[in-house]
Assembly symmetry: C2
Homo-oligomer: 433 residues x 2
C-alpha cells in the first residue's frame, strides 16, 4: 500500500513516473496510433516516447520559436486566467512580474515545483509551491502568456497615460474587438491586462499552474477571472482524433493543424510585418459561448444537422462524404442547397471569409447549473490568428448562423501572444528593449 | 488522419477501443503497479485487463450487492447533481422515473448511448442520446442514486403530506443534519429530493451522464444544482496512491478501503437493522467546503503541518513515521504534544470519535474566481456511512479544528443510498413493494 509520492523533486527531464504522469505521456504517444484490442500493449510500447517532441515524458518544451500551447497537440484540460495590473506597479514592476512568471512557467512545464518547492528548509516560511501537483508529473502542461491592449493603452484612451512606457509599441493590428450581434458580455469575465492559458492532461496540474502564477503576481497583478475547461473541442495536430462539443457534434474537423506549415505562416503566426517581440506570436481571442443545451436537445436530428451542416455521427458535410471530405457548398438536394445557406459550416468556412483561417483550441465547460434547472454549459472558444481582424471577419459572417438560436456569447477577450521565449529570456522581453 | 468515431454503438462488454477509453482502462490496471521507466509497457500489458472486476475494459459493473461508485476505486472526475421532484408527479411518476433512470444508467455505465442513441432512424425526432460521449468508451463511469429525506417527508413536516406514499418507510436513522458551527450554507446548492453521483475517468463522460439523466427526468424532476470535481481526494482501494487536496496535503490516507470488509460492514454498509431496500446501501453526505487557499498559501510550512497534524511532503503523522504509520496522539516533542490537540488529524481520527469511520470519496473543485481576485476553490467532500449520525459525530468533533480558519462549509446534502440493483430491477424498487 506504499505511495509513490515521496515528495522529492523530480529531476528535470526525468520526472518520477506516476500513474497519472505516465498516462499523460501515453496519451500523446497513442493519439495517432490505430489502437485495436489485444495488440494495444505493443502499440503503447512502440510509441511510448513519441509525441512530445523528443523531450522527457510528458514534458512539452517551454522554450522555442513560438510559445507552447498553440500548435502543441491540444491537451484535454484547460485553466484559463485573466489578470489585471494593480495601480502604481510601473514598468519595472511589470518587467519583474513577466520575468518571475517566465521562470516559474519553465519549472512548472517541466513538472517541477516553483521556487524552493512545497517544503522550504526553514519551516517558518510559507512554501514557494502550493504542493497539490506533487507527484503528478508534467502532464504535457503548457503555459501561454498574452498581453491585453489595456497594458499599452488604458481603457480611457484620452488620458494619454502610459504606465509601462509601451504605448508607442502598440501593434497597428491590435485594435479592440467590435461589438457583435447577439453579444451579451459579462464584463467581470471579459478582458484583462494579461492572460495565461494553462493546458494539461490533468486539471489539477493546470489549476496548480494558474494558482501558483496568481500567487507569484501578488502585489503586482490580481486574478480578474478564470475558467476551467475539459474535452478539447478541436485537434491541433493530425495525430489527434476529432473531439465533440456539447452539441454532440464533432468540432474542429477542418482546423489548422501543426503540420500545415503554409497555413500557419499565412494565417496564424505573426511575421516580419510586426514588431520583433510579436514575430512568431499570434493573437488569442477567447469567447465564452453559453449553449442552451436543453433546447438544443429537443431539436430533431434533422434540424441539428441542418444547423451545423454536417451529420451528427460521422461529421461528414451534408453535401456528402466522410468527415474529412471538403464541403461542397454548391451541391443541391431536392432543388435546395444540400448545405443550408445559413448552416454554421458554410458561414464559418474560409471560402465564405476571403480564405482566412484561424487555429481553434477551445474547451467544453460546465459551471454547475442555473436557477432554471439548466446546466451552465457551453464552449470556451479559443482561437489564434495572425491578426484580430480574422476573428472579426468570421464572427461577422456568423450573424445569420442558424446556431445563434442556441448560443450566446457571454464573455470575450483579446490578447497579443508574444513570440516564443528563448532560454534565459522572459516573455515579451524585446517589447521592453 | 481518420477518426475512430464512426458512431456505431459499442457492443455491450466490448466498447470500441478509443484513445481516451483505452487510457481509462489502463488507469485502473496501472494504479497499483510499480511503474518504472522502460519496463512499463510490460506492466501495462500484464495488468491490462485487471482493475475492473473482470468485466469489459473500462466498464464497472452496474448491478450488484451494492451500488457502484462507493467502494469502486475512486475515479478522477465527478459530476454530482441534485434533483427536485416537480409537483403532482406522484408515486407512479416517481417509480417510472427511477425505472427510466436505472435503465439509462445501465447503458451509460456500459459505455452505450441511452435509448435509440444519438441518431434516430427518423430524423424528425430529437436524438435520445445527446452524443458528446460517443467514442469515449465507458471510462469507468459509475452512477450512484440517492433519495433525499424530502422525498419521504415534505419540508414542512406538519402537513402530513405523503405524495409518494413512502412516508411510513422513512428509516429511523434518516434524520436531517443539524447545523454545525461555521456553517454558511447556500440553500440553492444544498439538499434535493434525489441525488446522482457520476464518477468517471473523463469529465465529458460524467457530464454526459448527468445531462442525459436530467433530460430523461424532464416533466418529473428538475436539476436543482450540480457540481463538477476533479482530482479525487481519497483512495477507496489499496491499489490507489494517495492524492492531494488543494491545501497541497495528501488526503484520505486512513480511509476505509474496498478491501476492509470488516470496517465496511461495521461502519459503511447498512445491514439487517434497516428496511430491505436500504440493506447493502449507505448514507451519502456531501459538503461543499470552500478553502481560502490564498490565505492558506501564506501560512508557513510549520503552521500548515501543525494544523493538519501531518508532514506536507510525505504525509506522515507529526508523531513520526511515514504516511501509513498510525498517529501516536500521546507522543510529545519538547514537552508539548507532537500532534497539536486541535490538529485536524487528531480531531477527525476514529480514536476521537468513538471508533466510528466513514468512507470518504470527495473531489477538488475550482469554480472560476470570486470578485476579490481569489479562486473559488475547495473540496467537494463526499462520504458514505451506515448512519448519518457518524458524520454528525465527526463534524461536531471538528469544532475546535485549527483548519476551520481556512475553510467554510458552503453547501450540504444528505441522501439515503439504496442497496445494489439487481438485473431487471430498478433502484430502490423494494421501497415501493
Amino acid at each position: 500500500m506504499g505511495s509513490e509520492d515521496t515528495g522529492t523533486e523530480p529531476t528535470p527531464g526525468h520526472p518520477r513516473p506516476t500513474r497519472r504522469g505516465l498516462l499523460g505521456a501515453l496519451g500523446a504517444g497513442l493519439a495517432g496510433a490505430a489502437i485495436g484490442g489485444a495488440g494495444s500493449a505493443a502499440v503503447v510500447s512502440a510509441s511510448f516516447d513519441t509525441g512530445n517532441q523528443g523531450s522527457a515524458r510528458g514534458v512539452v518544451p517551454f522554450h522555442g520559436t513560438h510559445q507552447a500551447g498553440i500548435i502543441t497537440p491540444a491537451q484535454d484540460r484547460l485553466h484559463f486566467a485573466a489578470f489585471n495590473m494593480l495601480p502604481n506597479v510601473g514598468r519595472e514592476g511589470l518587467i519583474k512580474l513577466l520575468r518571475d512568471w517566465t521562470e516559474a512557467a519553465a519549472l512548472l512545464t517541466a513538472g517541477k515545483p516553483v521556487g524552493a518547492g512545497a517544503a522550504p528548509e526553514n519551516a517558518l516560511l510559507p512554501p514557494d509551491d502550493t504542493g497539490e501537483a506533487l507527484g503528478l508529473g508534467a502532464g504535457h502542461l503548457t503555459i501561454t502568456f498574452g498581453l491585453g491592449r489595456t497594458l499599452f493603452v488604458p481603457a480611457d484612451e484620452t488620458t494619454g497615460e502610459d504606465p509601462y512606457g509601451i504605448r508607442h509599441r502598440l501593434p497597428a493590428a491590435f485594435e479592440p474587438l467590435p461589438s457583435f450581434a447577439f453579444d451579451l458580455l459579462d464584463a467581470t469575465q471579459s478582458g484583462g491586462d494579461l492572460c495565461v492559458q494553462a493546458c494539461a492532461d490533468d486539471p489539477q496540474i493546470a489549476v496548480h499552474a494558474i494558482r501558483n502564477l496568481s500567487r507569484i503576481a501578488a502585489g503586482r497583478a490580481h486574478l480578474a477571472w478564470s475558467q476551467l475547461g475539459f474535452g478539447r473541442t478541436a485537434s491541433t495536430s493530425r495525430e489527434q482524433d476529432t473531439p465533440r462539443n456539447l452539441f454532440g457534434f464533432k468540432d474542429g474537423t477542418a482546423n489548422v493543424m501543426a503540420q500545415d506549415t503554409r497555413a500557419l505562416n499565412r494565417d496564424i503566426w505573426v511575421g516580419s510585418e510586426a514588431p520583433g517581440w510579436m514575430q512568431g506570436g499570434s493573437y488569442l481571442v477567447a469567447r465564452k459561448i453559453q449553449m442552451t443545451i436543453e433546447t438544443w436537445d429537443r431539436a430533431s436530428l434533422g434540424e441539428q444537422e441542418r444547423i451545423i451542416g454536417r451529420t451528427k455521427i460521422e461529421g461528414g458535410p451534408l453535401s456528402g462524404g466522410t468527415e474529412f471530405e471538403a464541403p461542397d457548398f454548391s451541391a443541391e438536394r431536392g432543388g435546395a442547397p444540400a448545405i443550408d445557406v445559413e448552416a454554421h459550416v458554410r458561414l464559418a468556412h474560409p471560402e465564405n471569409n476571403g480564405g482566412v483561417q484561424m487555429l481553434r483550441r477551445g474547451y467544453n465547460y460546465v459551471d454547475g447549473s442555473n436557477g432554471l434547472g439548466q446546466l451552465g454549459a457551453g464552449l470556451f472558444f479559443i482561437c489564434f490568428q495572425k491578426t484580430p481582424e480574422t476573428f472579426v471577419t468570421v464572427q461577422r459572417s456568423l450573424k445569420p448562423d442558424l446556431l445563434n438560436e442556441y448560443i450566446r456569447h457571454i464573455a470575450s477577450g483579446l490578447w497579443a501572444i508574444p513570440g516564443g521565449i528563448r532560454q534565459g529570456e522572459f516573455v515579451a522581453q524585446a517589447l521592453f528593449d
